[in-house]
């Protein structure tokens, strides 16, 4: 049984090997460097960076976030420095990190998506792009592609052509049948699929009689949405031939294992990074502990255990 053997936590997303299945979720981990005071970032399977667009974006007016039961709403609106500034200012330091670096990309048009991917392709230091077609907080792009199979396919096709990097497509939960979206982006050539992005939601300040967020609606994240996310990952994993990355409300190793048993090859830790900046590394340790305790030698043994 080799109970004292170090379990093998490595996983493969297509040809992309990760030392363990624990990634961070875009928009909740900055550019990763901000977390160096709190953990050894290199112990993570991969870091996924804040969404990048072709031009810098200001984001939405405040208030941009609020607490909800076991979760939060945000309507950041993809504030970011733009891909060029990223390549110049952040990438040189990220390159030296001994972990996988995934750039999350976004465009208002299909051409923009492809252009961001192309620039990251020629810059050195990024291992994969995560194509965000599921952001509920922007007027153009984002969810308008993510809830329509043919729109989604067009974006993925364009990005696929623009880069030789691993292409991961991030799906929105805001669809009637996730399997339709899975098939659409698979056919368009994605290498893997991550889900879920935040769920459109809204909170009202009843004293002021107005929406809490400046944008009225925002994206719901956190443990509140985990049962929905696990269900969608389970549905997606059964429908997909490419690897699935599970996201949504993971706070600890137990939660991460739910996604893995539902069929996810890897997971991303999002909002939990706000509760405790060392959350992601705690998940890495917790998964190792679970494997040791239960005599699980490789992650594969438990991947998709529930089907």
């Amino acid at each position: 049984m080799g109970v004292f053997l170090k379990p093998d936590t490595s996983v493969k997303l297509g040809r992309l090997e990760l030392k363990n299945p624990v990634m961070t979720a875009s928009g909740t981990f900055g550019y990763a460097l901000e977390f160096e005071p709190y953990m050894d970032v290199e112990r993570l399977g991969a870091v996924v960076l804040k969404g990048l667009s072709l031009k810098p974006r200001d984001g939405n007016p405040p208030p941009r976030s609020c607490e909800t039961p076991c979760g939060m709403l945000n309507s950041i609106g993809l504030q970011n420095v733009g891909v060029e500034a990223f390549i110049k200012e952040k990438l040189p330091r990220l390159k030296r990190l001994k972990t996988r670096v995934v750039a999350n990309i976004f465009g208002e048009t299909i051409i923009e998506y492809a252009e961001v991917a192309r620039r990251l392709d020629s810059a050195d230091g990024v291992d994969a792009v995560e194509v965000n077609i599921s952001c509920p907080n922007v007027k153009k792009g984002g969810l308008s592609f993510g809830s329509d199979p043919s729109g989604a396919a067009k974006v993925v096709t364009a990005v696929r052509k623009a880069t030789k990097l691993h292409v991961m497509t991030k799906l929105s939960p805001n669809v009637t049948d996730i399997r339709v979206m899975v098939r659409a982006v698979e056919d368009a050539g994605t290498d893997s699929i991550s889900l879920i992005n935040t769920i459109p939601g809204m909170a009202i300040d009843v004293e002021r009689r107005r929406a809490v967020l400046s944008t009225v609606t925002g994206g719901l994240s956190g443990p509140a949405i985990r049962p929905i996310a696990v269900r969608m990952v389970w549905e997606a994993a059964k429908a997909a031939t490419v690897p699935i990355v599970g996201i949504g409300g993971i706070v600890n190793a137990r939660d991460a294992l739910e996604f893995i048993m539902a069929g996810a090859t890897a997971v991303e830790i999002g909002t939990a990074n706000f509760l405790d900046p060392a959350s992601a590394i705690a998940v890495v340790h917790g998964i190792e502990e679970y494997m040791r305790k239960n005599g699980v030698r490789t992650i594969k043994e438990i991947t998709g255990a529930v089907n």
């Binding site: 007016p61 039961p69 405790d276």
Partner: protein, 256 residues
């Protein structure tokens, strides 16, 4: 992120409490804050930010007002309980500089960050103008008075129960000199007013802002305030990592 043990957690009157935590850290700046998790439960979900009231090597003090679920739960925690703490965070108050007299303007619980700051003022004639609703809040001044600081304290209350009846900005208007530097902490409406008064007199004014916070470390981009600074940089600044202390003139008060 690290754990601190409650030494004391007692009511000062009304809904105001003082929390003392045994906690080691390299040092703090006046005006910085910490984020506390008030329980292991996921409800309330996020950490709560609190200004640093006092710090002495390994004891951190916080002054807080019970306003909702999180602060309510905090007020029930007994000495000996461990709480999760993240910090110190944020920038803190810049010094007034040579030949300048610092004026601290506080509204209600906004008095909290000035205790540490008042103790560190090395130059000039510092003043503290305190605006309170009534007696309960004025009680928060006790520590300031018993400390033997050379601090010119003026009080106004809305109900007139103590000090001058009215708003603290009335005091400020009367006493603001050109050699002053203003530091303000309190409700957004008060900060805006203070900032306007200072601007009209051509006096520098630092405001300590509040926003609902998620991460506290500048990564979620949730605690944005709008500034008058324009492109190429984003007009938005983060209260947690660019602040909580801002130059009042920079703030676009429309976003509150």
């Amino acid at each position: 992120m690290s754990s601190a043990t409650i030494i004391n957690n007692s009511r000062l009157g009304g809904r105001f409490f003082r929390l003392s935590l045994r906690w080691k850290c390299g040092g703090v700046l006046p005006g910085q804050f910490v984020m506390l998790r008030v329980s292991n439960s996921l409800d309330p979900f996020l950490r709560r930010p609190f200004g640093i009231y006092d710090f002495s090597g390994d004891v951190l003090d916080i002054l807080y007002k019970v306003v909702g679920k999180g602060t309510g739960m905090l007020s029930t925690l007994a000495p000996g309980t461990d709480v999760d703490i993240l910090g110190p965070l944020g920038n803190g108050f810049p010094p007034a500089g040579k030949g300048k007299n610092p004026i601290m303007v506080a509204g209600g619980i906004g008095i909290a960050p000035f205790y540490l700051f008042a103790g560190e003022v090395k130059e000039g004639k510092p003043s503290l103008f305190y605006g309170a609703k009534g007696r309960d809040e004025v009680a928060l001044l006790k520590d300031f008075k018993s400390r033997g600081l050379k601090l010119n304290i003026r009080v106004s209350t809305e109900d007139g129960s103590i000090g001058r009846k009215g708003l603290v900005t009335d005091i400020l208007k009367e006493r603001l000199g050109e050699d002053s530097v203003v530091y303000a902490c309190g409700p957004a409406g008060m900060l805006k007013e203070v900032s306007n008064i200072a601007r009209k007199r051509g006096v520098k004014c630092y405001v300590s802002l509040e926003r609902a916070m998620a991460c506290g470390i500048g990564v979620c981009l949730g605690c944005a305030v709008k500034t008058r600074k324009h492109p190429p940089a984003s007009a938005y600044r983060m209260v947690c990592s660019d602040g909580p202390v801002f130059n009042g003139e920079e703030i676009d008060w429309g976003c509150f």
